[in-house]
């Protein structure tokens, strides 16, 4: 097999055929699907969930994951936090001419492994090759299809006193990727949290009641996602700074650069709002999973009005948290 991707890999001829057969189909395994222009899948008759996401991360390999793992986990998580059981994925690749085929194989293997772990089947795909310089290595789009389960799900019926839970430490992905770019002049022993959460979230949906909403705080971080929930449902949400789990290393890098962990991306965390009665049980179940071992209750809904997020500092002072305005830049001193 060739060493690098060439434009011919995307022209629909013999090289395209081999690429699909030897790399994608051999890894994703759904041989039937490739004989037709569309994959035929069997769905339950319940309501289904559909989501799509594009992945353009730099670097494509980072501590704790790769663009491939992320492309599966990210879409699986979007389905899982919606309360749907992820079933099928499609994937579209845009690859830059000259991209090493060995790297493509690694990416595809990561996708296959993550799909297996989360129990989804990759049923359809597409590959386009663009001229050198027209893309940065590889971009991946995945579309996910999930099935809502009868009787279980998120009620969206919020009440004062509902607890806000985060499934683990925040900001790990953001710091792992920033340090992996090698631009910080810092080596921080932080792995990305990139992981599929569907098995863990299915467990809390099945074994507890009273879950109001689940969201994954990816770009924009914990604060931005909570601001969105507060505004969308007109809730005042209070969170306590000392209750929010942050790794010491993440805290350290943020202090040096002037970043705020509340706004750093996560790729394997969920925010769960649950009735006060069930909150401890939810945390107990989350902590049984490796992805949820640092789960913590970080705050509560204090009123069903105003649509705002408040942070209580260690001194007991409260301040408003808003969406991130623009990109975070490192500061002068």
């Amino acid at each position: 097999m060739e060493t690098y991707i060439s434009l011919a890999h995307g022209d629909g001829g013999e090289l395209s055929h081999r690429l699909i057969r030897d790399i994608f189909v051999s890894a994703f395994g759904d041989k039937n699907a490739v004989m037709f222009d569309a994959a035929a899948i069997t769905m339950a008759t319940h309501k289904i969930a559909v989501t799509t996401d594009s992945f353009v991360i730099k670097p494509i390999f980072f501590p704790g994951g790769s663009i491939g793992k992320l492309a599966v986990a990210g879409t699986v998580n979007d389905l899982a936090v919606s309360g749907a059981k992820p079933a099928y994925l499609t994937c579209g690749f845009v690859i830059e001419e000259g991209f090493p085929i060995s790297n493509l194989k690694k990416i595809v293997t990561d996708m296959a492994n993550e799909a297996k772990k989360s129990g989804v089947t990759i049923v359809a795909g597409d590959t386009k090759v663009v001229e050198r310089g027209s893309a940065d290595g590889v971009y991946i789009n995945t579309t996910g299809i999930g099935v809502y389960q009868p009787e279980i799900g998120c009620s969206l019926e919020f009440a004062e006193g509902d607890a806000v839970i985060v499934s683990g430490t925040i900001g790990d992905h953001g710091i792992a990727v920033l340090t992996a770019r090698g631009e910080l002049g810092i080596t921080a022993p932080v792995n990305s949290d990139c992981a599929s959460l569907n098995n863990m979230l299915e467990a809390i949906l099945k074994d507890t009641s009273g879950i109001k909403i689940m969201r994954d705080p990816t770009r924009g971080g914990l604060a931005t996602t909570l601001v969105e929930i507060a505004e969308d449902f007109q809730l005042t949400i209070n969170i306590q700074e000392t209750a929010i789990p942050v790794k010491a290393e993440v805290h350290g890098v943020c202090d040096l650069l002037g970043y705020d962990p509340l706004y750093l991306a996560n790729e394997g965390k969920a925010i769960i709002i649950v009735s006060a009665k069930e909150k401890d049980k939810v945390v107990e179940i989350l902590r049984k999973f490796p992805e949820g071992k640092d789960a913590a209750i970080i705050g509560s809904i204090s009123s069903k009005e105003k649509g705002r997020l408040l942070l209580e500092t260690p001194l007991g002072a409260k301040r408003l948290l808003t969406r991130l305005s623009g990109t975070m830049f490192p500061r002068i001193c």
Binding site: I186, T242, A248, T313, A317, K318, R319, G326, M328, C333
Partner: protein, 372 residues
């Protein structure tokens, strides 16, 4: 105990909450004696941010007046200098390297971010010395670093020149627009526009300068200063000590950050500064030119001095109703500016204080525009 565990203790609510009460009690004592709130200026932009982010300022607002001073490097940079740096980026065959804070600072016509979007090669560096590497990797381009900053940042600039010398680079230079703390404190004290009972002195800058460098505050102006760190417990104990000194009427400089700040500062850095730099007049936003208030490269290092290598033409800065100049001097609080939170907000900053990560207006907007 690890360094991180020690740091964690300084934001431990069990330590900090009683400290808030102790500061308030001390402030009440001051008020009983003098019939007003004690007023202190935090000189450092990182202090301004930390006081607001941690809630120290909000917790003490009824008892202690904390006034933000001229400590945000981007904010104190004169508009004409900002415009010049943005204009510099317009030249061809150049790579401009900068700290992140500069990217969104409004120029009279555009920001550096606008120029970057329009296709200019402008790079935000996390580690400034990387600019030298950029120059080495791009021998056919002129690489210019925007040297904005106080004593904390200036040593890094000299380090860059040292690196460029070692590599014998001909395509690397720094656009120097640095500022020094002492001349601006003297300016404020001599102007006498703000009544102050003391200064919360910057922890970072003091690592370079040392405790002894502030004695002029006591001997010439009879005013106290406490060198203070950035964690809640450190901020609170610094303020406590300032009130205590003010009550006793005994001007003094205290080092409340002794783990990192020495009496004579960092002597190695002083040698570097002496080797490469010389004092120069600098223009400050809202204050005009203050004599010998900055450092420039010595003439023998002209080849690394972007101001000697490139000429940029800028017109009169655009006039706005922005009152950043008065905010920096501690004359008004950010919310007293008519633009604050209306025309001027972080998504549409009119002045630098709203955009910098250390700006008073940004701190006020982000953390204090409502109280709960």
């Amino acid at each position: 105990m690890s360094m991180l565990e020690i740091l964690k203790q300084s934001s431990n609510p069990e330590i900090c909450k009683p400290l808030v009460d102790a500061v308030i009690q001390k402030a009440v004592e001051f008020r009983q004696k003098f019939g007003r709130k004690p007023a202190f200026m935090e000189v450092c932009g990182s202090h301004t941010m930390a006081l607001a982010r941690t809630g120290v300022k909000q917790s003490l607002k009824d008892y202690v007046q904390l006034i933000s001073g001229p400590g945000c490097p981007v904010c104190v940079t004169d508009q004409r200098s900002i415009d010049a740096m943005i204009a510099l980026a317009e030249g061809d065959n150049r790579i401009i390297c900068t700290f992140g804070d500069m990217m969104r600072v409004p120029g009279s016509n555009r920001t550096l971010l606008d120029s970057k979007i329009a296709g200019k090669d402008i790079r935000v560096l996390y580690s400034p010395v990387d600019a030298v590497k950029v120059a080495k990797d791009n021998p056919d381009k002129e690489v210019i670093f925007l040297g904005v900053g106080f004593e904390t940042t200036i040593p890094i600039l000299t380090l860059m020149v040292g690196e460029a010398e070692k590599l014998r680079l001909d395509n690397f230079s720094i656009w120097m627009t640095t500022k020094l703390v002492e001349p601006v404190l003297r300016y404020l004290l001599e102007a006498g526009e703000v009544q102050l009972d003391g200064f919360l002195l910057p922890g970072h800058v003091s690592i370079v300068l040392g405790e002894d460098a502030y004695q002029y505050l006591v001997t010439e102006y009879n005013i106290s200063g406490v060198i203070t760190g950035f964690e809640p417990a450190e901020l609170l104990s610094g303020i406590y000590k300032l009130i205590d000194l003010a009550i006793n009427g005994q001007a003094s400089i205290l080092n409340n950050h002794p783990a990192v700040v020495r009496k004579a500062g960092n002597q190695v850095i002083h040698q570097w500064l002496e080797k490469y730099l010389t004092e120069c007049d600098e223009a400050w936003r809202g204050m005009g030119v203050i004599p010998r208030s900055g450092l420039d490269l010595k003439p023998e290092y002209d080849k690394y001095n972007a101001k000697k290598r490139f000429t940029v033409e800028v017109g009169e800065p655009k006039k706005t109703k922005c009152r950043c100049g008065e905010v920096i001097r501690g004359l008004i609080s950010p919310n007293e500016c008519p633009l604050f939170g209306k025309a001027c907000h972080p998504m549409n900053p009119i002045g630098p204080c709203m955009v910098s990560a250390e700006g008073s207006c940004a701190a006020y907007y982000q953390y204090m525009r409502e109280s709960f």
